[in-house]
Amino acid sequence: MSTATILALMAVGFFTGGFGAVAGIGGGVIITPLLMMYFGLPMQQAIGVTLVAVIATSTATSSLFVERHVTDIRLGMTLEIATTVGAMIAALLAPHVDRRTLAVLFTVFLLYTAFSLVKKAWDTRKQKKHDEVADYTVHNYPIGLGASLIAGGMSGLLGIGGGPIKVPVMLLFMKVPLRVAAATSNFMIGVTAATSALIYWGRGDVNISVATPLVAGVFAGSLLGARLAPKVRPVYVLGLLIVLLSWLGIQMLARLLSGGIH
């Protein structure tokens, strides 16, 4: 692999890790299409490499969130029972699922993520910063476990973390405050993605030459991003990510329609 490719992978990792940490997304949904469309990786390899990158974001940022007591580790570990089962089953099934079906599912999720960031940007527009999180009681474990099973399945199938599925469910049905829901979802992604990644690794779908520079970039970016996050107004980062996701979504749709995904 050329030095230019290695540097490009580091840059992709650095920016998705950094912006992802500020915006509160894992960035898997950005990395997979980039690897497929610009680095020529087959879909299963792109997903395998993305899973490893997503573990890196989760590990780096949640070490800080857990330390600041924003993460609810008991809630996270309870829901991990469902995410890991979903991830394991989906990762085992993934090679037998039609590529075009996977690409359609992926594109839908990508556009849904862009939409959820639009909503987030709108909500945080005039929100004041507050560091205290009010006491809460967790409700509706069955709904939370159901959503986690689906989020885990999407992770094993598509390589993403599934935050945009888990966070609204924790917020609306389980009555967990937004900051705690986002931090806890992020915390769960490490274990969920590692479960699928072990299966992709065993199958030889984690391309080490691609994964190492990407992960190095992700670590540097997300450690920096998580430290800057409390000081940066996320609206601009959210805007940038919305543009990027919409553009990637359109590219994926174009490839699908022209039959460029096998």
Binding site: S58, A60, T78, M88, A194, W201
Partner: protein
């Protein structure tokens, strides 16, 4: 206007019951954060060192892959550490939760190497 009847029930809305103190288990938060931090920095150092070594030495790639493996197994170690901490706190419900999650991961690993 503050009335005596208001001040006589100060803890009605703010009492710390176990169900609302999930987040403030300082001991568990500390060991889990430390595990994640060690895993993250160890993986990052190995991968970065491996990438630099790769320029001159072929074994650099092995060092970098070792970093990826550290990253892959950090979540697994995190579960073991959390489970031990819950056992230390005699919070048996979450010892069971940790054991189940660990069991699923080990099963995935066992199935993964056979596929």
């Amino acid at each position: 206007m503050a009335t005596p009847s208001n001040s006589s029930t100060p803890s009605a809305s703010n009492s710390a019951t176990p169900s609302t103190t999930n987040r403030t288990d300082v001991g568990a938060d500390r060991v889990v954060a430390l595990t994640l931090k060690i895993g993250a920095y160890l993986a990052f150092s190995l991968i970065a060192a491996g990438l630099v070594m790769q320029i001159w030495l072929p074994m650099g790639k092995r060092v970098a892959s070792a970093g990826l493996l550290v990253l892959l197994f950090t979540p697994l170690v995190r579960i073991v550490v959390a489970g031990l901490q819950f056992a230390h706190e005699r919070d048996w419900k979450y010892v069971v939760v940790s054991a189940v999650v660990l069991g699923v991961m080990v099963l995935a690993y066992a199935l993964g190497i056979k596929v």
